[in-house]
Symmetry: C2
């Protein structure tokens, strides 16, 4: 059965945040990603090639469309369409800041690039970080590029969009970390197994208001240390290097 023009139009409309928000859905593509998400989020619609569908006897999906590879490529947002695409319902999570008391969490202050956000979700999953608090201006987690870049991490990591200054002010005696050029060498600090690690916008870093609320300023050493450099690290890269060090210290206790 071919996909109707209206269906393809609907799928493409999910590139825009306002449509995803109205419909409360998001799009995911590819066998690995769709396979990972099927057990986690209700699936409204799934279109796949006969080959992909033949692997499953039963699928928890409201509506299934068997399509040709050609038809799938008309609907797909990927450069190289991959056997299956699916529309899932957006989950609704309760935002409870108390998780920061007993676990390590991330906060993102206006991260703008969808790929960066997806990559951060994927690495949070690797490092066992279950909650990410995002400023309201952070890119939408349901952006298709973000979802693809999570590689399934979105099934396990929960995102909460909330004003970061209010969130941080609500915490009592909790370490709030951020990386700064004038921070302390993170390898020389004893890092905690709870609290918040704040990462900033790609161009502007952490905003002034949030910066004032950070009580542990860290620095990721470059190498060799005495070198004059103009360089910096991509926000997802910096997040990974910081999270790896928190977890290295926690595992070696």
């Amino acid at each position: 059965m071919a996909l109707s023009k209206n269906r393809i139009k609907y799928i493409h409309s999910l590139e825009l945040k306002k449509n995803r928000k109205t419909e409360k859905v998001f799009l995911a593509e590819g066998p690995k990603l769709v396979g990972d998400l099927l057990g986690h989020f209700p699936c409204r619609f799934l279109a796949a090639t006969p080959e992909w569908l033949s692997q499953y006897s039963q699928l928890p999906v409201e509506e299934i469309s068997e399509v040709s590879a050609e038809d799938l490529s008309r609907a797909s947002l990927l450069k190289t369409p991959q056997q299956v695409l699916a529309i899932f319902e957006q989950p609704e999570y309760e935002t409870d800041a108390s998780v920061i008391n007993h676990s390590l969490c991330l906060a993102l202050d206006d991260v703008q690039d969808p790929g960066n956000l997806g990559t951060i979700i994927r690495l949070a999953d690797w490092f066992g970080i279950e909650h990410i608090f995002c400023s309201p201006n952070t890119v939408d987690v349901y952006n298709p590029k973000t979802i693809q870049a999570t590689m399934g991490g979105i099934a396990r990591v929960k995102l909460h969009y909330t004003p970061l200054p209010d969130l941080i002010r609500s915490l009592t005696d909790i370490p709030v970390y951020g990386t700064f050029l004038d921070g302390k060498n993170m390898y020389a600090q004893q890092l905690s197994s709870n609290g918040l690690i704040v990462m900033g916008n790609e161009g502007n870093g952490i905003g002034k208001e949030v910066e004032q609320l950070i009580n542990r300023k860290l620095y990721i050493p470059n190498y060799p240390a005495e070198r004059e450099t103009s360089e910096s690290l991509n926000v997802a890269i910096a997040t990974a290097v910081v999270c790896a060090e928190f977890r290295r210290q926690a595992a070696s206790l």
Copy 2:
């Protein structure tokens, strides 16, 4: 002076590797990146807004075109064009494997995503890694997306495209590292300040032939370690976490 149709066509033609190769040039855009590269590579052509040009009394550029922001946006490959674009000559580096004897280098086995390659060059710059050896099928460093993602790192990090098995076989008594799920916890290893760190393709990892030549298999621990996971790390993220650990150990000696 407006950009001619032919000029715009020429600029756009540089999206394709074969045209970049024939012309031996590459494109870079934005004040930070172009500013960083001007001192490092001969510049054949530069188009910029009057505001950008007014900062400079003299520019080492063969041909300069003062253009409106509107004109620039017609030539630009970026979603948000940024004041200046420039065409630089590709440098030619001699490939000398002996640098691996006395410094830490990276090898990339078929990394495919231009953004990943650019991000790896940027982090190599941060961690003082000057040479990256790429398999011939690795994405072209002069892809405009790669150049943009290096954020200027391309001015300091040298890339060499060469068959990796031959390169590794030419080394004697040199540590050759790679990350594998069955490798040894990298935090429990003494890591060297010279040698080669091999990173693999996004989907398939390190190829079989190269894998057999790796003499130090490493593992990046996830957290908590006992967790059953289906996740993995993006190749640029894994490269960063590994390089950071090599440099942490080197700095603490």
